[in-house]
Every structure is written in C-alpha cells, then in structure tokens.
Symmetry: C2
Subunit: 418 residues, 2 copies
C-alpha cells in the first residue's frame, strides 16, 4: 500500500523570532497520523516571498499533501494569499460565501468593519474555498501535478475547525489510506533508559510493522505501540496481544493503559467512586487545581482549593499552628500534614492533596535547597507525606511537584478501600 506523506509549512516571522510557540503543527500531525498520513517534514519559514515559494517547491517534491498555516491575516506582513495566487496562476476574486461570513462576524462582534477586513473575502479563482466558521480568513485548497496544497489561517481554533470539518474527511476520502492503530500506556517513577533496558528483548522481537515509541514528559514516560496494515481484525488481535505483554512487563510503573493524562486518570477514578478532592497549595500556587479543572466535567469531583502562599493563609484558613511554622518552617512534613487536615475540613472533601516547597530561583538554604517540595495526600483516616527534591528551573519544578502530587494522590486513592 502506498504511504501517503505530508509536509506542514508554517508561515510567519513570529515563528522564526521565537515569539510564538508552534502548537498547530503538533495537533495537525496527530490528526493526520490518526487517518494514516505520515508527516515527514515540518518546516517554519518567515513572511518572505522567496522562502515561501521555495518551501512550496521543495516540500511538493517529497510530499503528496502540503498543509500550510499562517500569513493570511489582514496586516501588511501577511503575504501568503497573493503568493499562492501567483504560484497557482490564479486571479483574485471575491468569494460570496466568505464575504457573507466576514460581514456576519463583524455584525456579531459589533465592531466597525474596515476595507482590510473585506479583503479577507478575496481568494484566487483556482482554489476551492474552505469555509471558516470561527474567523474571517477562508481556507484554500489547491491542486497541482497530483499534489494537494491547503492553506489555512494560523489561529489555532480556526485551523482546527477547518481540519476537522473539511480537510481531514476530504483527505480520507481521496486516498485509500492504510489503517493505523495505537495503544498507549503511561508510566511514572522510572527513567526512559531504565525502561528501555527493561523491555529491550520485547522491543527487539517486535515485527517491522509494529513500532514502539518512548514519549517522556515531566517525570513520566508514555509508551506507544503503533501497528500499520490493512486487515483491521488481524491487526487488532496482534496489537492487543503485544500490548498485553508490554503491560505485564511495565506493571511496576504503569499508571494507566490508555492515552490519558494523570489528571484525566484521576478524574475517572474519583468519578467512578463518587468521591471528591480539594487542594491546598503553597509552592504550586494553584497549578494543581488548574490541571484538575482543565478537564471538562471536573466539577463532579473537584470542590475547590486554598492557595496558601502566605503563612498567614496557612494559619488563618487552613489552621496550621504558628508554632509549627516557626519551628519546623513552611516547607516541612509537619506543615503539609496540618495543611492536609485543614484542607479536608475547610473544603469538606474525601481527599486532599497538599504542597509546600521552594521552587526557585531564590529562597533556598543549605538544609532546604531550591527544588525541595513536601507533598501530602490525605483522607479522613490517614495522611501520607513525601519529600521531593527537583533540580530544575521554577517552571519545571512547579510542574514536577504537581505531577508527583497527582500521582501520589492516585496511588493513595487506589490503596484506599473507600
């Protein structure tokens, strides 16, 4: 079966000067992958005529599908549309559908519409217009020498809408795409090297159409097994069997045998038990609460938090004893234990997860260096506390503290008969 290969070209000076992190490419690659399209290149170029032109030439040499984002905005540096018009030898015309869309959006926003905005409804007459339900710039689908070129706005949710509603279904229909299936498991508490060594015999014995990927992220490693073929039933059977072996081999560190985040795993667990959680956060400053509430429907099991950055909040809201803060300090086992007890009471939840630490860059001491974090998890019967020492920058120390706290909570709940 022919392998369908795609390139992603992202256009915009902002990508080359580092002002914007490109999250579009990752999402697009993921979605293409799901329908069996392999992304071989992701290229970012500036708002420079020759560079964009050359990129179109180059990428169409090795890819059947070239997806382009960015450079469709209304400002002077956005040159993608006139360039595509010339590249595909078209003529600019007003698209009535796109025009109606622009007008409707400005009406709804009750903002004044200017000449620049109306220009957004113009497209080359050699393209098929892709409607933009979430913004003013229409998408454009071109074909040339058997290659497909699709231009989309760089605004993530506009691009996503077009991909989901139009482009992915159209690509799937056009190509008889191979079937791809993934199974993913999440591990915590083990390094990538150690894990790779532990399962190396398994990995080496995999047939060529099965691929194992290690995806490390903040103290956790995701293992993904991918199979490609054309017989869904045989593929599923083989994938299931190999995945079962892999689960068995990694059982000591496995968090879940699905492609879920820790906060999703936790949400499922709490929902299934009909239990609730709250957080009392010092060093993580609300980040754990944010992670939990980033999951839709989290209000079913998350009640709230006390972010106790200042010691007086630890005392006045959570009831930590001033003596403890004075003698053991805010970053201590005694303090997180008292914070946990206080959180259960104030938030009236089944579980509480609590943090106190020094995330840096300042505030460290020889006894409590930057990166020191105390974490506690508790229910009405018991409290469990653990000390960590992370050696990274502030942002990463916060993320690692949050991740480890969520994992401790997960294990604590599982060990709980409830």
């Amino acid at each position: 079966m022919e392998k369908i290969v795609a390139s992603i070209i992202t256009i915009g000076d902002e990508l080359l000067i580092g002002q914007v992190i490109d999250t579009n490419s990752a999402w697009m690659a993921q979605e293409l992958n799901k329908i069996g399209v392999w992304v071989c290149h992701r290229l970012a170029v500036g708002d420079v005529w020759d560079d964009i032109w050359k990129a179109l030439d180059e990428e169409s040499k090795h890819s059947r599908i070239i997806l382009i984002t960015g450079g469709l905005g209304p400002t002077a540096d956005d040159i993608t549309k006139p360039l595509l018009n010339e590249y595909f030898q078209g003529r600019m015309v007003v698209d009535e559908g796109a025009l109606a869309n622009v007008k409707q959006i400005f009406e709804r926003l009750q903002r004044p519409m200017i000449e620049r905005n109306l220009k957004q409804a113009e497209v080359p007459d050699v393209c098929t217009v892709i409607p933009n339900k979430r913004g003013t710039a229409p998408g454009m689908w071109f074909e040339k020498d058997g290659k497909i070129f699709v231009s989309m706005p760089g605004v993530p949710n506009e691009m996503k809408g077009m991909m989901t509603d139009n482009i992915l279904p159209a690509l799937q229909q056009r190509f008889g795409l191979p079937i791809i299936a993934h199974r993913t498991l999440l591990t915590a508490g083990v390094g990538e090297s150690f894990l790779a060594d532990h399962i190396s015999a398994f990995e080496t014995a995999l047939p060529p159409y099965l691929k194992l990927a290690y995806l490390p992220n903040y103290g956790m490693v995701r293992l993904r097994l991918t199979i490609q073929g054309d017989n869904p039933e045989a593929m599923t059977n083989e994938l299931d069997a190999q995945f079962a072996t892999m689960k068995q081999l990694t059982r000591d560190w496995m968090v879940i045998d699905e492609d879920l985040t820790l906060q999703e795993v936790l949400g499922k667990l709490l929902k299934s038990r009909g239990q609730t959680v709250g957080t009392a956060e010092s060093c993580t400053g609300g980040y754990i609460a944010h992670l939990i509430t980033s999951i839709p429907g989290s209000s079913q099991y998350f009640k709230g938090s006390v972010v106790s950055y200042a010691n007086e909040i630890k005392e006045n809201v959570l009831g930590v004893s001033p003596d403890t803060l004075a003698t053991a300090g805010a970053v201590s086992e005694e303090t997180v234990r008292q914070m946990a007890a206080g959180a259960l009471k104030v938030l009236d939840t089944d579980y509480a997860v609590v943090t106190s630490g020094i995330m840096g860059p300042d505030g460290g001491s020889p006894e409590k260096p930057v990166g020191t974090a105390w974490v506690a998890v508790a229910n009405r019967q018991r409290i469990s506390a653990q000390k960590f020492w992370f050696r990274f920058d502030r942002q990463r120390n916060i993320e690692l503290t949050a991740t480890n706290a969520l994992n401790l909570l997960r294990k604590f709940i599982l060990s709980d008969e409830g």
Copy 2:
C-alpha cells in the same frame, strides 16, 4: 554587513506524530535573534537516517549555522550521534569529561547505571564536546566547509544550558554580528486589524532597516519594533524616537511599553506600591493564581487564593449568600461581588480578583451560554464587575477569562490613588 543566517533542525518521531510540542525552537530563535542571527528555517524531521542526512545537506546550503536538537537519548530510536559521526567521517571515542559527568549524575541520583548510559559519553573524534551540566548527553560542535553544526539534546533545560553557557557566546565571538535592538509594547482590548489600520501611516513611513511586527496572543497584541545596523548610538536614538511615536499612537490600548507579560506588569505595579493581591476563582480554577505565582518573587505581593469551584465553598469560605446563589446563580454579578468582598476578608489583601463563568463544553444555557464569565476586582472601598462572553474551547475560554481579569485588575489598581 553580512547577514548571518541559521537553521534549526529538530529531530524525533515524536515531533512528527504530534505527541510533543516543540518549545525548543522558539526559545532558540529568540536567543539567536538577540545576538543578531536570523533564523530562516525551522525544520522538524523524524528519526529516519535519510531524512536527517538530507536535512543536513539542505540546510547547510542556505545557512552558516545549523543547530540540531534531539535524537541523542539512550534508546534505540535515537540515531543522531552515529549519523553525525558518519556525516563528518569521524570515529567514536569515549570523552573523559562526558564520562565523568555521566557517572557523577548517576551517583547523585543514586540510580543504577547501565551500559546504555555509559554509551552517552561516546562522541565522534571530529567534534568539539560541549559539556552538559544538566544531563548525561554531551553536545557536539562540528565544522565543515565553513559551516557550523551543533548537536544538542532535546531536553529543554539541557539545551538551554548549553546554548547560554557555550554556544551563543561562541557564535557571538566567531562572527562580527550586526547589532539588533528591539522595543516592544503590549496592548489589550483591540484587534490586530484595527490596530494595523490605526497605525498604517506610521508603519508605511518606517525606513527599511526598521521593522514592525504584530504578535497577537489571547486578546492582546504585542507590537515590536526592530532596528538593525552598526552604529549603536544612532540606532538607539532613532529607535527611541520611533517607539515614542508608536506609544503615542497606541496610547488608548497600551498596557506597558516593555516586553513583559500581564502578570509581570502586575507584579511590578504591586511591588512598587507595596500592596498585595489574592484571587477567588470559580471558572478559572486556580489558573490566575498559577499565572501570578509563575513569576519569581511573587510571594512579595501575592498572598493566596480560594478556588471555589463548588457553591458550598463560595458560601462557607467566601461567605456568598445562599439566596444569591439560588436566585441570581453562581455566574452572576451579585455572586462575583460577594466573592470579591469575601476574598478581601479571608485573604486579607489590598486587592482581590474574582471569576465565575461557564467554560464549556457543557453547562451552558440560553441565558448564560458557554463562554459567559463574570469578573470582579475590588479593594476595601469599591468593587468593579464586568461580564464577558468568549466563544472558544474550554482551554481558551479559561485563558481569556484569566487575561481579561488580570487586565481589569491592572486598570483598577492604576485608577486607585492607593
């Protein structure tokens, strides 16, 4: 003056299947930009021998400097090092410095060291080794036909350490780099198109060596003016003059005339006034507290938060009246006003910022559709509340609510004689 052009090549299947968002490239581009190196291409390729090889060939055609990250890990899919060894016709040798580093790291972590890890100390004998203070894989600097190739690990903080300590200073020393200067201002509450139209005469009149960039992000637009030249004094004078004009033109929407985030602006403001803030968050679930506490030193002005996801926390901790919740509802002006009063009392701060809304995808109604958010800011004397309606996905609605809340708070503080 010669323009020094660089390419960034990121290696790893995980980048092409979208499991990992590439934050490295943006950071690298930013740092290169600061020393006057222009990134013309950012390319992501998979762990595929031929693709990496071709990328090295291609990029060295148009760039003097090729920075490479990723593919240096200890697992089987990491092929960058043997490939570079062959590409530059070297021979693998153990680097004593790198070996000592690997051993020291494993000793410190008290983890068992395996054969795979020792391999990390091997490097091609044709490269200059760049020490890795934060991990086991050393960096490698190669030169060929007047081009510089530098290979670094993909782990962000390891790459950043090498860039800052070694690579950037070495590049600066090597090339007589042109001088580049930026001035950035942040606006809020105005769209990119409208802003572009408003200052189009200014933009058109700019000389060719001055460039204006629009950097929109979550309801805010950053405007950056860049000058390039070789006479620092003349450049500074001209940049200052043009920037002053731009500030004047955008005064109605300008948040700050520096390249700062809203939470940094707020931190500076509160610190200079010796005042404190706390948050009471329903729909943002701790995200505002997280943004504030992501700034080092925020403990000087941030005391804490009450994340009141459940109505009973709004009642019991913040003192919102059950009647108000029953009649006006949790997402209402009355509720956020009472939450603000409660937050000031419980957290004992000078200011409070408060949110309550429906972030989606579920929970909307005809009267209060998904994306509705009430925000309040308060001090002891007065409370100001505003309603928003965002039309995006959950994540973006949360971010937009937080951003707008922080901006309301900033304006509220500025209007306050304190």
